[in-house]
Symmetry: C2
Subunit: 346 residues, 2 copies
C-alpha cells in the first residue's frame, strides 16, 4: 500500500492554463515568442503546481542531458581508489562546480575495461560529456574517445600529442621541487615511491631524477636513489613500503607521489623505529588538508585542487558548447612542514 508520488507534467500545466503545451514550453524556456502576460501566468501556475521539467524527456528530444559523467579509475589489483583522499577532494570540487551550472553528476568507478565506460554514458545520451579523474593507465582509451568526437577532459599529466584536453599540475616541476628540497635538507639516500605506469607519476619521477642529476653535476653531495613501485591505494602502499624497509635498504629521504602514500610511509617508518624527520625526511604530493594533520605534519607539493576542479568543469562545458579549449598545466609549490625539516630553519 504505497502512495505513488504524483508527478505534474507539462500537459497538466497547459490544461490548467488553458493553453497548448507549446506555449508552456516556450514560456518556461524563455525561447520563442510568448506574450508577457501569459508567460507570467504560466510561470506562476507552474510554480504553484510544483511543476519541474523532466530533463529525461527534454534530453531525448533536444539531445542535451544537463549531466556530466565523472569517471574515477580504479587500480586493477586493489579495487580501491574512490575513497582515496585526493580523488575525493577533487571530486567534491567538481561536483560543486557542476552544480553551480545546474549540471548533474553521473558517477562511475571503472577498472580495466575503461574503454567501454568512457564512451558509454555519452553514447547512451546519459551525459553531455565526461570528466576523468586521473588518466591512470587509460591514456590510449581517452585518446580514442576524444578522437571520436566525445566531449572529454581528464585530470592528469599533459601528455604530448594527446587528442584529449587535460588539466593537471606541473608534475615534472613538482617532482623536481620535492627532490631538490630533500637534497637541500642533506638527504643522501633518496627513495621515490610511486607507480611508474601512470603518466602523472612518470612525470614526477622525471623531475625527481632531474634534481638528482643536477646535484651530481655540481658534485657537492653524493646522493644515491632508489625507485620503488608503490600503489596509490593507501593500505596497499603501506604494505609495500613496510616490505621495502624490512629488506634492509637504507633511506634518509622519501618522496611519495601522493600525500596518502606519504602517510603510509610515516606509519611504516614509525613502526620500523625510524624517526621523521631526524632519520628520514618525507615529502608528499597533492597538498591535501589531511597533510597538515599528519604527525609529523607533512611537507608536500601543493596543487590547487579547488582551482583544478573549477577548470575541468569550465573547460568541459565550453567543449559541450562547441568551443575549442586548450589543456592547462597548473603551477605547483612546495609547502614545507615538519616531516622534512632536518636542518633548523635559522
Amino acid at each position: 500500500m504505497k502512495k505513488v508520488p504524483f508527478i505534474v507534467t507539462m500537459q497538466d500545466v497547459a490544461r490548467y492554463a488553458g493553453v497548448s503545451t507549446a506555449s508552456v514550453s516556450r514560456a518556461l524556456a524563455g525561447k520563442g515568442e510568448v506574450s508577457e502576460r501569459t508567460k507570467d501566468r504560466i510561470h506562476a501556475l507552474a510554480r504553484q503546481m510544483g511543476y519541474r521539467v523532466n530533463p529525461i524527456a527534454r534530453g531525448l528530444r533536444s539531445r542535451v542531458t544537463g549531466t556530466v559523467a565523472v569517471i574515477v579509475p580504479q587500480h586493477h589489483e586493489t579495487r580501491q581508489s574512490i575513497a582515496e583522499p585526493f580523488f575525493m577532494e577533487i571530486l567534491g570540487h567538481i561536483v560543486d562546480a557542476l552544480a553551480e551550472h545546474d549540471y548533474s553528476v553521473l558517477l562511475t568507478k571503472v577498472a580495466s575495461n575503461a574503454r567501454d565506460w568512457i564512451t558509454k554514458s555519452v553514447h547512451t545520451r546519459q551525459a553531455d560529456g565526461v570528466i576523468m579523474i586521473g588518466q591512470s593507465v587509460h591514456h590510449q582509451a581517452l585518446n580514442d574517445a576524444a578522437a571520436a568526437g566525445l566531449n572529454i577532459i581528464a585530470w592528469g599529466e599533459n601528455v604530448p600529442d594527446s587528442a584529449y584536453v587535460s588539466v593537471g599540475s606541473n608534475n615534472e616541476q613538482g617532482g623536481y621541487l620535492a627532490a631538490r628540497h630533500l637534497l637541500e635538507q642533506g638527504c643522501k639516500k633518496l627513495v621515490f615511491l610511486g607507480d611508474n605506469r601512470i603518466p602523472e607519476v612518470v612525470a614526477r619521477c622525471e623531475g625527481y631524477r632531474r634534481a638528482l642529476e643536477e646535484n651530481s653535476a655540481t658534485g657537492e653531495i653524493r646522493a644515491t636513489s632508489q625507485e620503488v613501485p608503490v600503489h596509490f591505494d593507501g593500505a596497499t602502499a603501506y604494505k609495500e613500503i613496510r616490505e621495502f624497509l624490512r629488506s634492509g635498504s637504507k633511506v634518509d629521504g622519501i618522496f611519495a607521489v601522493s600525500d596518502r602514500i606519504a602517510i603510509s610511509a610515516l606509519r611504516a617508518l614509525r613502526e620500523a623505529n625510524l624517526h621523521v624527520p631526524k632519520d628520514v625526511a618525507v615529502v608528499g604530493y597533492d597538498g591535501l588538508p589531511i597533510a597538515a594533520f599528519a604527525a609529523p605534519a607533512l611537507t608536500t607539493i601543493n596543487q590547487n585542487v579547488e582551482a583544478a576542479g573549477g577548470l575541468l568543469v569550465n573547460k568541459l562545458l565550453e567543449m559541450i558548447a562547441g568551443n575549442t579549449v586548450e589543456s592547462t598545466v597548473l603551477p605547483v609549490e612546495l609547502t614545507v612542514r615538519q616531516s622534512s625539516l632536518r636542518k633548523s630553519t635559522a
Copy 2:
C-alpha cells in the same frame, strides 16, 4: 571540425535484421515471445553493430531509469563534507554495490534546501530511488519524502517512528563503549566532541552519558564530563577544538564522534603539548582505514562500512522492486589502539 559520434539506434538494428523494432526490443530485453533463432541473430547483430539501448528513452517509456540518486548532505556553515573520509568511504562502497546491479549513480551534494533535492531526481524521473548518506538535519524532509511514496533510504540513526527506512550502526552502543573504555583507562575528565543537532550524534552522546551515569552509580571513580559542539568538517573541527583547549579546560579523555574529528583533536593536542595517550586518551568513531594510520594509531568505534553500503543498496533495490523492507541497526565494536592506552595491557 568535430566528428559527431555515430550512434546506433534500435531502428538501425531492426532495419539491418529485417525485423521490426518491437522484435529487437523483445529479443534484447528477453521479455515476450521471440523465436530462439531470431533472438540469437539479433543479439549477434546488436553486438556487432555496437548497439546499446538508450536508457533515457527506455526510462521515458517504461518509467524505470536504472539510476539511483545518492545525496551527500553538506553542513551549512562549512560547505565541505563530500571530502570527509567517512562519506567517501561509504560512497565508494555504495557505488560498487550499485554497479554490481548495473545501476548508475547520480551524485548530489546538498545544503540547507534539501527538501527539494531529495524529491527532485525521482520526480523528474532521473532516478528510481534515493540514498541519503547521513540524515544530517534533514530528518523531517526525509520523513515527508518517504510518506509521499518516494523510494528512499538513509544511512544514519534509526529514529523511532520515522517513515523512511534507515541503515546505521548502533550509535548509542558505540557511544557507550567509547565512554566506558575511557573510564576504564582511568580518565576522569571526559570530553565529548560532536554536533548534537544530528540524530546519529545525539544517540552517540546518549550512550556516552549512559556510561558516565553507570559509572557514577557504582561510584568508584568520580569523573566529570563536558560536551563540546564540533562540526564534522575536519578543518573546522580542528579550530573549534583548539579554541576549546585554549580556554584552559582540563581534559584527560576525549570521545570524538568521527575519526576525522579525532584526528583533528590529535593535532590540536599535539600543538598544545599534550601527549596522547599519556595526558589525554582519544577515541574516535567510524573505523576508517586512516584511523590506523594516525599517530598515535587511533582507537575507534568500528562500524562495518562496506556491509552498510551493500545493505543500503540491497534494501533500496528491494523497495524499488515493490517490496517492503525494514531498517537495520548494525553492531559496533571497539577497536583499541595506542591513542587510548594509558594502562599497560598486561
